[in-house]
Symmetry: C2
């Protein structure tokens, strides 16, 4: 059985991935984060708490020589913009310290490293659909840090120190639980809150278009990245994941079709110029040919994205958040 | 008069830039390198020797608050590939320490930082001509380090810490003096050595195409970057410079036209599979529309590139290297 290390295991994607690993019978798993991750039912996991950017932390995580490393840990976009030094320390230095610890292990150690990047590596102006050869010109410090992580991942792979795959995740929607500090929070909020019987605020016009994947699709990308033949990647180790391109108006119409008028009417428009300005720099649509050719699969529609949220997060009878969910 | 700091002043481009600054009457200049730079005749300059990657070195260079900083220092491609740690220490950490020292100066200090990047940020496969929106997918550690420097330059500019311009230099041809450790050395060698009466080795087929600028054109790019209105750059602070796209065969024909058959016959073909493999990953041609629109100007032809070498480096009577040249 494969030895797996999940860095950033207490985050939303980390939790979803842990559940998926449990389902698929993983047995030797280390769940690492700066706070204690809770292993899901059925997963025998070692929980490690440390700061990846602290000296020696990465080395300790590698003592058991994990064969697969999911590196999901990151300071999110809003916080990395608000705290310049913290963003660079965790997102850049943390990633580099991990890669360096792997390199210095030597002795033929060459784990598969699955690095979650983001469509934030792209910045406006954009073509109608961003293809696999479009430049990374991020407009946030978070996007810059992820773009640097991607470059390091490719170089460390090329030099033979690790077997890297960078997974550029779409904006995850519907994010379960409480909002985080990401400026993209409302894309999930306008679905999640109305479904839970609460009012939601929409800070941007309905014409705003963006690129989405469900948590289930995102977990699927990571599991697929663990298994594909990386020789097919060549020197370009970072892949834009497939997703659903939808406008806010299309999101709301999908919500209406799935859950009815009453639910959709819980969205209140409250224009926020700051959020509008940030979102205007974000990508809207992609042509992720390489990932599709490698077998990565998106959700079928935005309606399906909403249905996945209902199936995975809500009590099927009351449509209220399930008590076992945060 | 402007206070100017040149980091990497002892290198070839640093020397050429210093001569140009002298010609244009610069007076408050600091020439920094890891070895003592020699100020050209007529330039009153302070010479500083230190390792940019050592703690505190960058801060010391900023004591006089230079208004313009040329950051030319780098471990070249061959050496950065041979010595992984040294390349990252100088090319990545050195650059980041400089940017951090600028940021931490605070108090409204916001110098113009002209960072020499390289077409090594691009890696094959390529389109026929690489435009300004093509991705950076370097195939060397040097190219990776330069691409990371570019990302940092854009982010530190966006955050208002400095006013950055990244200048992606073509391969400099004809490089005067002795060959350095760059794998691209032969592109200059096959012109420089025959002109000096010596044999030159050609390790690649004549069909190999590449992208060139003379040292004089490169210096012109840097001087222009010191003066342009950076507001026109927007968020994308890194520019591919214009150049001359020529095959090795076209280089040799130009040499024949400028200097005659006898000189061109001093080139001996000695195929080198290692160099051929490295060069196969290098870009051949660009469409640098942004730099052209901003007024950056290339050489007129490869013949002119050869004539510039003869004018600037050789004794006009004997066509031997001038005694004042290295």
């Amino acid at each position: 059985m494969t030895r797996i290390l999940v860095i950033g295991a207490a985050g939303m994607i980390g939790c979803k991935l842990s559940e998926r690993l449990a389902k698929e019978g993983a047995s030797e798993v280390i769940l690492h984060d700066v706070v204690a991750a809770k292993p899901p039912a059925g997963l025998k996991a070692t929980v490690v708490v440390s700061d990846l950017s602290a000296p020696g932390a990465a080395e300790k995580l590698l003592v058991g020589r994990p064969e697969v490393i999911f590196h999901l840990a990151a300071i999110v976009s809003g916080e990395a913009e608000a705290d310049f030094e913290k963003g660079y320390r965790i997102n850049l230095d943390g990633t580099r310290l991990l890669f360096e610890a792997i390199r210095k292990t030597g002795d033929g150690y060459k784990p598969r490293v699955i690095f979650t990047s983001s469509i934030a590596v792209f910045g406006a102006p954009f073509p109608d659909a961003i293809d696999d050869e479009y430049l990374s010109a991020p407009l946030t410090s978070y996007g810059t840090q992820k773009a640097i992580g991607e470059l390091l991942l490719s170089d460390y792979s090329r030099r033979g120190f690790l077997e890297g795959i960078g997974i550029r995740l779409p904006t995850i929607c519907v994010r379960p639980g409480k909002p985080n500090l990401a400026a993209s929070g409302f894309f999930s909020g306008i679905i999640r809150e109305p479904l839970a019987g609460e009012a939601a605020v929409l800070p941007v016009p309905r014409s705003v278009r963006h690129w989405f994947a469900s948590p289930r699709a995102a977990t699927g990308f990571l599991m697929h990245a663990m298994r594909i033949d990386t020789a097919k990647l060549g020197a370009r180790r970072n892949l834009t994941m497939p997703g659903i391109s939808a406008t806010v108006g299309e999101q709301i119409e999908a919500l209406r079709r799935v859950a009815g008028d009453e639910v959709a009417q819980r969205i209140r428009e409250a224009p926020d110029p700051t959020i509008q300005r940030i979102v205007a720099g974000w990508p809207q649509n992609f042509a992720p040919q390489r990932a599709l050719a490698l077998g990565f699969r998106a959700d079928a529609s935005f309606e399906q994205i909403i249905r996945i949220h209902i199936e995975d997060e809500l009590d099927q009878r009351t449509l209220r958040p399930r008590p076992d969910r945060a």
